[in-house]
Symmetry: C2
Subunit: 142 residues, 2 copies
């Protein structure tokens, strides 16, 4: 298991980049819109994991609701697993409350599923399984 990324809710990615890119010195490798989640995303590698800046593209986006309730800040942690269905099965056996009982398609074509913060000590935890058609073969420069 590896940390895949840390998601950070922002009002405007361009404003957030003034800190993460300009002041801290990280590079941006990918930007993408994930229509299903109502967000625009920018990925910034920090060693192996990445910082994922999230900006809502609609008012009904879960990220828009998070910003309304808590303001900008850390939104979730994503861990990379080899077999997301097996990981979900184990978590369910252990009694964890799952937001997604089965995986769905996330950024870059990966398979993703969220664990409810109620089961993860207040942390919104995302499981990510990279797929052959997903992340690894579709890196884009911006």
């Amino acid at each position: 298991m590896k940390i895949e990324h840390i998601g950070i809710a922002t009002y405007k990615i361009d404003d957030a980049l003034k800190f993460w890119r300009d002041a801290l010195g990280l590079g941006v490798v990918e930007t993408e819109e994930v229509a299903e989640q109502g967000v625009r995303v920018a990925m910034l590698p920090v060693g192996e994991p990445r910082i994922e800046l999230l900006e809502p593209t609609s008012e009904s986006s879960p990220v828009a609701k998070f910003l309304e309730k808590r303001g900008a800040g850390i939104h979730h942690i994503a861990v990379r697993v080899d077999d997301i269905r097996a990981a979900l099965g184990r978590l369910k056996e252990q009694g964890a409350r799952l937001i997604d009982e089965s995986p769905r398609v996330g950024a870059g074509g990966s398979l993703v599923a969220f664990v409810h913060p109620a089961s993860a000590g207040g942390v919104l935890l995302e499981l990510v399984e990279h797929t052959p058609a997903g992340h690894n073969s579709e890196k884009r420069d911006v």
Copy 2:
């Protein structure tokens, strides 16, 4: 620059371990009390970065105040830098608001300094420089 750890505020580390260790399957490599910060800490590696569970040991601990205000959940992100003084200098030049203008001693004898969330898009960001006398030479099993 690398992500060193993600700090998660908990009411009781032992309760939080039921998820992170027992349900998710991570191992615990170190536990420590950092008296200056008023916390007990458990470190769980996830690939290269680590999940750091934090439990307050006094009511005046910053983590106790965080729990009171926001409840359990993600508290901070720590990035590892080679030269913490140089990194603080760059951030200051860029106008970032620093909680620690100069480094102080953190968990495992490392040098640490915090950047204020107001400058980091709502994220409490910790810079960590490992020192010869610190982390790397003092791993303990629990």
